[in-house]
Symmetry: C2
Amino acid sequence: TVDGTALWTDILETARFGSTPKGGIRRLTLTEEDRQVRAWFAAACTALGCTVSHDSMGNQFARRPGRDAGLPPITMGSHLDTQPTGGKFDGIVGVLGGLAVLRALHASGFETRHPIELINWTNEEGARFAPAMLASGVFAGIFTEQEALNKTDRDGIRFGDALAAIGYRGEAPCGQHPVAAYFELHIEQGPILEAEGKTIGIVTGVQGMRWYEVTLTGRDSHAGTTPMTMRADALLAAARIIEAVSTVALAHGPDAVGTVGLMENRPNSRNVVPGAVFFSIDLRHPDDTVVSAMETDLRARIERIVAAAGIGLAMERVWDSPAVHFDPDCIASVRAATDSFGYPARDIVSGAGHDAAYLARVAPTTMIFVPCAGGLSHNEAESAAPADVAAGANVLLRAVLDADTR
Amino acid sequence: TVDGTALWTDILETARFGSTPKGGIRRLTLTEEDRQVRAWFAAACTALGCTVSHDSMGNQFARRPGRDAGLPPITMGSHLDTQPTGGKFDGIVGVLGGLAVLRALHASGFETRHPIELINWTNEEGARFAPAMLASGVFAGIFTEQEALNKTDRDGIRFGDALAAIGYRGEAPCGQHPVAAYFELHIEQGPILEAEGKTIGIVTGVQGMRWYEVTLTGRDSHAGTTPMTMRADALLAAARIIEAVSTVALAHGPDAVGTVGLMENRPNSRNVVPGAVFFSIDLRHPDDTVVSAMETDLRARIERIVAAAGIGLAMERVWDSPAVHFDPDCIASVRAATDSFGYPARDIVSGAGHDAAYLARVAPTTMIFVPCAGGLSHNEAESAAPADVAAGANVLLRAVLDADTR
Ligand SMILES: NC(=O)NCCC(=O)O
Ligand SMILES: NC(=O)NCCC(=O)O
């Protein structure tokens, strides 16, 4: 088993990089705070006898040699970047849980057959650079490196430039890297495990998700002199679309969700009828055909709204991550590991996207979930119990060792 | 009459301070661009033999002596600050039209009885520091100097600090300054004069206007894992309130307007259900009792919306500028001046707020409107015809001279 106390200490220790007054973390990818936690991660892995490197997308790899140097590694990983008002567990539990596995192997001197590799993926959150899971997406061949490097944040800074600025643009091309298996430990980020009193979620897949960018163009005009009937108010049209996103999600069953999370209003002055609005839409459902139906329904509503309001529309689907079904052998390894400890568990589909969703395209993959309080995530108050986190890392350890015997 | 060509040249010349690629101006109050246009203004007035000073709110005064030094000045004025995406005429026509009047008096060596004073008011737009007309409000005793100096912009910068930073925190206390009369020339910013083929609007008053600040508090949560029914989505509630503002305005007759112009969404990340939204509301009507009825109606709707959505509400009325009726003698001076030129004219009530609305509290006051293309204002495409602007300045000149004889 892993050293749960050391794991918890690592979680608290790394939480200082970008800590917020409300007890959360603001550690957007490729910022100074990200650079600091990367340096900490590299030092911690090196101290456990691993070789640490990073690739051209800034993904960090800590490798512990195995008996058979010719075999591809069994990998673990997740991410250390956070949302603008993120918590201390999302992604972090997976990386530091992997570190706890490496520590257990190191302490016992256990020799595996495969090399064991722990990965810290760049820009999983998608909060600074859309879409989410960008660097694992390049690793898996979903995006080209060039398109990823050219993504810009909302201030117009290029991913490639931000990566170089923190010193993490590595020479090794991202992705030319065979992987025997990938296991990702993560908090559930939803309410199910806690509600049912389960310690472990055996993750069978990830739901489908799509992101859209919408720009509405109306006409800036004076709030005091422009009659209501002569306005082209882009924000009023955006308000109707926000309502439509909610309506569409509610209409497609309890598993459908739809969210407008990012919105920019222009010129954003109290006495100017807004002439332009930019916003994002996020649609998800475990069944891709339902996601498609939601999109069709929503597009029709949006077109009616902008036509009636005399507003110009540009709408683009900027991300499509179809539903993923994880590898049966990896799932079996997680199930066996969970059973060996006797942890209460259930199968679960992930509502959140994870790097595992892209790794699943190129390697046998699965995930392990542990509960988080109230199912709350992407919130500074996000929390998880030390015993659950340790249990998750124990399952990760035994699942990796099980896969090593295959 | 004034030199219309010189006036037009001044408009084009000052438009370089903060000029935008789309032909507008971005010259927010107390910025470097504002400092530049202030320096230009002071130099231009000094060249016409005026004494230029500024008070503790940064209001600039250019004084041309009269025959009787004991008399209070007859004043003209408006503002040189703009919206973030403003035009070349809003406010500017009033200040530079006043400069054209000073130039005409200077060129002819005409001696008035009263001193004549041209004023450039600080922060008329309210775009950077709310509310609008802040410095003329202090001048008129509506706001205390301390409360004005402590206003902050959306980046938290204090008005007083921004004022000191551009070097315009004068020693003379704002407001201890008797005024014989105040005339403000302005573009209409609405569609009426143009539609009716009138050159001059004889402004009889300003409609009532109120500003509110609303903060909605929900709960940040994960866009992929939080079921629709478990969300506390502050942006969705804000969307419903934006719709309600429009509904309330439409329900109170063709003269009622309601606008949400400023909105800030938090944490503003694509995959986070928004936990907090801040926005402004602007309600206006020529009749204060209707403004009150609109407020009552809107508050009831907002309370229903937030209660149903489980969202926390903080709503504050941050500005109340009641309807203003201008001085009959000043209006008579403008009417006589307009008739003397034979300009087509009509009486009009201003839909926009103006420094004149506050000056009217402490001095006989009125305004002169000229048409603007399509009634468009608070827009980079705002435009006015050189002949109309010159006509407005001619009326300003004769109205001032008429008041000087009273
Ligand atoms: N795990 C996680 O929160 N990932 C962000 C990608 C998503 O939006 O689901
Ligand atoms: N004239 C003008 O646009 N003033 C700004 C104040 C208002 O919102 O009406």
